[in-house]
């Protein structure tokens, strides 16, 4: 089983990555002009009030000292306090993490569910009408901004047909799932396009490959050739593509969360950036980064599982 031994040491490589991300976020958010104290106080701010708030959150200290506190907190498993919400950042994130996670998860599942059959149809009808139609439709999927697509989906499914909730998240599992259908669909429409294109290309190659020829020469019908030989061989590059895109996907949830009023981390992040809630930006960035790293790690495991040749 030594092909999987990277599972043991790969996590060590996360550390420098997360460290790098913490440093960059830390510097970056503080380079942005704007002052959290001022945002907090609003138009009625007075200089004394601002100075008081800055002192209270240690914003008047030198940057290096602030970073040091940040690291020290991190070592204690804390991420500091939100200036805007006045609670611990980790607690805050804990209340917001679920919708984002489920959205990403549903989107990935849905994208794969869309991409595989679509790519299969396109590849098996390469160059024919079905293929061309899929190509054209998928270009639309990629070309229209998600905030527009999302709105159109709401108008169609929630207002006109009234079969799905307009926005928000739910309380029970089934409610949540119902609320996630349209957001995931919005994300999937663009993600699945990317996946389907790559998958189709791999499948077209696969159908022409020696492996397929050999299977046909053994008398295997086209369906077995496709599903048992071509598809498994096409999945590896697609999984990698998915992994690379996951960061982008997680980032992309921001817009979708806003359109669909999902109380997730993307919304939290945008509001935190605009109100210069440094600790929250940092915390969310770290969580996003961890998620990305973790998902890439999972993708590596899946790759190894899918392709016995791969060694990492």
């Amino acid at each position: 089983m030594h092909r999987y031994k990277f599972v043991l040491y790969r996590p060590l490589q996360f550390l420098p990555v997360l460290f790098g991300i913490s440093v960059i976020t830390f510097i970056l958010v503080r380079l942005i002009p704007g002052d959290p104290a001022r945002v907090l106080l609003g138009t009625r701010a007075t200089p004394e009030a601002i100075a008081r708030i800055r002192a209270q959150y240690g914003l008047d200290e030198p940057m290096l000292a602030q970073y040091f506190y940040f690291l020290r907190n991190l070592a204690d498993g804390e991420m500091g306090r939100s200036i805007l919400y006045k609670i611990d950042v980790l607690k805050l994130i804990a209340t917001r993490i679920e919708p984002t996670l489920t959205l990403v998860l549903c989107s990935v599942v849905l994208s794969v569910l869309i991409a595989v059959p679509v790519a299969a149809i396109a590849a098996r009808n390469q160059g024919r009408l079905a293929d061309q139609v899929i190509r054209i439709v998928s270009t639309f999927g990629i070309g229209f901004p998600p905030f527009w697509l999302g709105l159109m989906l709401i108008i169609l499914f929630s207002v006109e047909l009234a079969i799905l909730p307009v926005s928000g998240y739910g309380n029970t599992l089934s409610e949540k799932l119902a609320h996630l259908v349209l957001p995931s669909l919005t994300v999937s429409l663009s993600l699945s396009t990317v996946l389907a294109r790559s998958l189709r290309a791999a499948m077209v190659e696969g159908l022409k490959s020696d492996v397929a020829t050999a299977a046909r020469a053994r008398g295997m019908p086209e369906s077995i050739v496709f599903w048992r030989h071509v598809l498994p061989n096409s999945l590896v590059p697609t999984v990698n593509l998915l992994a690379v895109n996951i960061g982008w996907l997680i980032g992309g949830t921001v817009v979708v969360e806003t359109v669909f009023a999902l109380p997730g981390m993307g919304q939290l992040l945008v509001r935190a950036i605009f109100s210069r809630d440094y600790m929250v930006v940092q915390g969310v960035a770290m969580v996003f980064a961890c998620a990305t790293v973790l998902i890439n790690f999972l993708a590596d495991i899946v790759t190894v599982a899918l392709d016995p040749r791969v060694k990492l």
């Binding site: 030594h2 031994k5 990277f6 043991l8 040491y9 490959s209 020696d210 492996v211 020829t213 050999a214 299977a215 046909r216 020469a217 053994r218 008398g219 295997m220 019908p221 077995i224 048992r228 030989h229 498994p232 061989n233 590896v236 899918l306 392709d307 016995p308 040749r309 060694k311």
Partner: protein, 558 residues
Amino acid sequence: MIAALLKVTDLTVVHDGDGGERTLLDAVSLDLAPGEVLGLVGESGSGKSLLCRSLVRLLPSSRLRISGGSITLSGRELTTAPEAEMLAVRGGEIGMIFQNPSSHLDPVMRIGDQITEGIRFHQRLDAKAARAAAVDILAQVGFPDPARQYDSYPHEFSGGMRQRAMIGAALSSNPRILIADEPTTALDVTIQAQILRLLMDIRARRGLSVILVTHDLGIVAQVCDRIAVMWQGRLVEIGEKRGLLAAPAHAYTRSLITSHPSLPEEDMPAKAEKLRAPGAVPVVDIEKLHVRFATGGLFRRGAVDAVNGVTLRVMPGETVGIVGESGSGKSTLARAVLGLTPVSSGTIRFDGTDIASGRAVLGMLRRQTAMVFQDPYNALNPHLTVGKMLAEVLRVQGKIETAQIPARCGELLDLVGLGRAFLDRKPRSMSGGQCQRAGIARALAVDPKLIIADECVAALDVTIQAQIVELFRELVERMSLTLIFIAHDLAIVRNLCQRVVVMHRGVIVEEGRSEEVFSRPKHAYTAALIAAVPHIDPDKPLLAPSKMATPQADGVAN
């Protein structure tokens, strides 16, 4: 003659291009009796593979089409049979083995499952029974531990084992006819011999009919009953092998036979004279060379001793052949000599200077040596025309003035027998042989003292092979080159080289004048190598059965 099992009459395959039809198979007729082995030979592109694929109606492109003739299998017409019926014929009646097992086996499916798949589909067995049957087949094709090896993946096997697995897959559905399209071209001689023997074994055990496609007349001579010769889409000649080899009717068959590089019977002492006087400085002087490659990951480190203590001296003007099975360290040795691979220990002296002693030496080495690579396509930059490529080398080497570069490029092409028209060609539009010549021209552009040719003919057609060998012979004579010629084809080395070095697992097991080594091999391994070469004379049988070691399934591919 026994009633034919398979009968092909006037089979014609055309290609529907935009410029009209092109006939690829032109009224080919042949038949195959039960239990018979038919050898199909012919130059590259003559339609051998196409013929095989036509038999099971698996044409490589939708633009190809069977436009006439008939194929009958036990009296059943196949050209018009419905697709569903063909599913049963493919695999069930006619099994196929392909040239390149690495690409035809599904890399992500277990070897055993690929065999089971056919069994379950054709024989409708349940999973358990199918598995048992597959294990049985694996045992039949020579897997020493089939129950365990069932669960292995193709990449975990050596090339020879993969070819066995491929044969196993073809046998899985118990066909009556086996079509083997160049099943051994990618393998080295010893493995080739094993595979051929396995095929014959199976034929004997199962009473299969076999169509064996190959380039190598030696192979057909050894294992076939009848031989069919193809040339430019036509079947130009077919007949019982002895008769055909003794009295070839067609000009192409004759040229095939003459260009077949067999090991000569007697010593050829003429070459000995050319050895230079002793005392001259050796061009290459290798002493106790070790090249070790680290393998594995962080926790389980390992190492391969690719070259394990080689000492070798090559004198100016000498032609030295290095032979040995795949993986024996030949290429590594060559690369080390040219400073292309880091050396673990030992010294290499070029013209008396240690090449590890500084950049200057390396520079000199690069200006006085050149390498010709095994794979003619990969060794040329696909983006450069032959002319640009040569000009660049000449410019970087700076041995002649810029103004003379174009003229020199032309000369180089003349030297390797390519027309000047090739200056503007890119590798993609050239045949393998032409690419190889361009590669040689590039080596000559350096104006080297030493050329190392690493298996530079292995990938070529016999006829082209013969041309290239001839070219080298000429060059050595005309330009007083020193040549190190690496190959696993013993016959060629025997023809070209004065001295031969036999490598096995990173060490030199035997070394000496060619004629001596070949006629009186001292080392058992050398003997095995020589014995494994299929002779064009059917009466000189391939490899005595006793020599057939059981193959080991240890070969984890690199």
